[in-house]
């Protein structure tokens, strides 16, 4: 009797467990967000990224194909192993349908490997490394917002053409920094310029003065900052303090509006940078920014806008094909043009790169800035092909078809 009860209870438990699993996978569309929520890059997307994704879901009515859309979010602490294992866990246990990837190229490369193993579409947004659609590309990866190639083509070519021919790089010593430096150096050399030297500074360095003095001693005209977040802020602040900005022109190879805001215009004025999106471009971007500001009390960065767009485009593709089947959705995404407040006529190339318009900006002087967050003026609008080339990256195995 006892034995029978036990078996019965176990059976009931098991069927209940199976049912709850099916519910998780069947009744909902699950979008995951794995990002730096607490470290040096937390202002770039962070909670604002989750908010932007939720705004896209709300704009589509909250349900797609009769299924409720939910967002899971976790902090990867800039550690590739945490990002990859959380992605695997969600795919196995929570019925994850799509992943939004935040900052850090190293983490995103690790997560791309999980995307292909688990067949989950992966939108790399905060990470910049161009290898995500090159040597590290997968059939399920989409590099959505920007990449190091576009940053180099934007900022470096604008500065070389204005006469900044000799460069010295201060580079963040990991995958992102080195890829960014390579991309910029290629552009400098192709336009008849010269790279006089480079120094690799460990991630999270607070005092850049030693590196900056080396840059100054090189006699280069341009100080290329191939870093991001607080690394970028601290190196630019140091360059100002040591008077290096008087003899060298600083180039921000990756700067977000959150960085400019925290540096203030006094320090950042005159800086060239390349961005995929700016809140004050047109009425559509301003409308989005206004809604975002009401919730987050700051203007959105380009990658927060991309979080919105990626979520919107993914869910629209699901609606069109009538299923969350990863292969069908990926095929639809690669076929359709992307038109929303983030970009016009964007498209996803064979290697997974979303090709779209990029903007070379210059940071305004305090006198030019007329209202809060009025920080950029457009120097040049680059077509997607101009930013990223017209051919898919040959290093990617998907490009050869």
């Amino acid at each position: 009797m006892m034995h029978k009860t036990m078996t019965g209870a176990l059976g009931a438990f098991l069927s209940l467990y199976a049912w709850s699993q099916a519910a998780a996978a069947g009744d909902q569309i699950v979008i995951g967000d794995i990002d730096d929520l607490s470290g040096v890059y937390a202002d770039v997307q962070g909670q604002g990224g989750v908010e932007a994704a939720n705004m896209a879901i709300a704009d589509l009515g909250g349900t797609i194909l009769g299924k409720k859309v939910i967002v899971l979010s976790v902090d990867h602490q800039n550690k590739p192993d945490i990002g990859a294992s959380k992605f695997r866990e969600w795919a196995d246990q929570n019925g994850l349908n799509m992943l939004l990837g935040g900052s850090n190229t190293g983490v995103s490369i690790a997560m791309a490997k999980v995307a292909v193993a688990k067949k989950v579409p992966f939108f790399a947004i905060g990470a910049g490394g161009a290898s995500l659609t090159g040597a590290d590309c997968t059939p399920y990866s989409i590099h959505y917002a920007y990449d190091t190639t576009a940053l180099g083509n934007g900022t470096a070519s604008a500065i070389v053409k204005q006469g900044g021919k000799t460069w010295f790089f201060v580079t963040a010593d990991y995958a992102f920094g080195t890829q960014l430096q390579e991309a910029a150096a290629r552009v400098v050399i192709a336009n008849g310029g010269k790279v006089l030297g480079a120094v690799r500074a460990p991630l999270g360095t607070t005092d850049y003065s030693s590196f900056l003095l080396q840059a100054q001693a090189s006699g280069a005209q341009v100080l290329g900052l191939a870093n991001a977040g607080t690394d970028f802020s601290n190196s630019l602040k140091g360059a100002n303090e040591f008077g290096i900005t008087k003899t060298m022109k600083p180039a921000a190879l990756l700067a977000f509006i959150s960085d400019i805001h925290s540096l203030t215009l006094q320090t950042a004025q005159g800086l060239y940078l390349t961005t995929a999106w700016y809140w004050d471009l047109n009425d559509e971007t301003r409308a989005f920014a206004k809604r975002f500001f009401a919730k987050m009390h700051r203007e959105p960065t380009m990658t927060q806008a991309a979080y919105y767009s990626a979520t919107l485009q993914y869910l629209k593709a699901v609606k069109t094909v009538g299923s969350t089947d990863p292969d069908l959705v990926m095929a639809e995404l690669k076929k359709a043009k992307i038109n929303d407040m983030f970009t016009k006529n964007g498209y996803i190339r064979a290697d997974g790169l979303m090709v779209h318009t990029m903007y070379v900006m210059q940071v305004k002087t305090p006198a030019e800035s007329k209202y809060p967050w009025d920080y950029y003026k457009v120097i040049k609008v680059m077509s997607g092909e101009e930013a990223d080339g017209s051919q898919p990256d040959p290093a990617c195995s998907l490009s050869k078809k």
Partner: protein, 294 residues
């Protein structure tokens, strides 16, 4: 031109100068840690957080309360030091009888909470604090231009280090403090209020960290993580100098700053680990540190 390791001499001199600047910050921070460990036996992992709070106190003062830099140099350490005293009263003193590990865990938790609160209020990318008007510009030393502010930071931190050393090693109050660490009950029996002394010492150590934070505010981005990236290096400095040794903390802070500066020209990629390599070597040869007592 003369060269060392293939690096021209002016560049070496420049890096040594910058190393001295960083070293003086290390010295000031490790001094506070050494005082707290030496007199309380607490491994104060929240030291980096107090440094960060000092910088933020200066920023908040300037932005919202109209407190200028010079007043902040006095007020910010005072405010953060008072916070330290509250923490000592409420939490830390219950742990003195336990294994030092408990103090470490508590202070580590406090550091995480402080960072989280500041991130919630000001964001992860932090805020800018301007260099005060009167300290802008630089001296031309021939081999480099030294910003006046950095020279001031070295001067201020060395002065404070010297005063603290004098207070603890050469005055009657310092003698009582040192006696209390040797045998608290005996000192208490002489009618000295030991708990009050311990509390003030912790507050003073915390205030030193906050002072370093105010000094650093104009040169680095004031951000919630500015302390946690520094505190590990500072711990290594204290271990190298000898846990609890005042003079050890000051000297090894300055020397390690300069060694780190040289590494930044010779092999930049190793600049964030050179201090730890030296720590490992010191621990092998002199487990009590360079100035430590058996």
């Amino acid at each position: 031109m003369t060269a060392v390791f293939g690096v021209p001499l002016p560049a070496i001199l420049g890096q040594l100068m910058l190393g001295l600047v960083n070293g003086s910050f290390y010295a000031l921070l490790s001094l506070g840690l050494a005082v707290i460990f030496g007199l309380l036996g607490v491994v104060n992992f929240a030291h980096g957080a107090f440094y960060m709070l000092g910088a933020f106190a200066a920023y908040i003062g300037l932005q919202f309360l109209g407190v200028n830099y010079w007043c902040a140099l006095l007020l910010a350490p005072l405010a953060v030091g008072l916070l330290g005293i509250v923490i000592e009263r409420l939490f830390l003193r219950h742990l003195y009888q336990l294994d030092p590990l408990y103090g470490l865990l508590l202070t580590f938790g406090i550091a995480l909470i402080a960072e989280g609160i500041m991130r919630g209020l000001f964001g992860a990318s932090g805020k800018s604090y301007p260099v005060p008007e009167s300290l802008q510009g630089g001296f031309n030393l021939g081999f480099m231009v030294l910003p006046i502010y950095r020279a001031w930071a070295v001067f201020a931190s060395l002065t404070v280090c010297g005063l603290t050393w004098f207070l603890i090693e050469r005055t009657r109050l310092g003698a009582m403090l040192r006696a209390a660490t040797e045998n608290a009950r005996l000192v208490q029996a002489f009618g000295i209020n030991v708990p009050l002394m311990v509390m003030t010492t912790y507050g003073a150590g915390v205030a030193l960290a906050a002072l370093a934070g105010v000094l650093a505010a104009p040169v680095t981005q004031v951000s919630p993580l500015m302390g946690s990236s520094l505190v590990i290096v500072v711990f290594a400095v204290v271990v190298i100098g000898g846990m609890g040794s005042i003079i050890g903390a000051i000297v090894s802070g300055l020397v390690l700053g300069m060694i780190e500066g040289l590494t930044k020209v010779i092999y930049p990629e190793a600049s964030n680990i050179v201090v730890f390599v030296i720590m490992a070597m010191v621990l092998i040869w002199r487990p009590t540190g360079l100035f430590g007592r058996e």
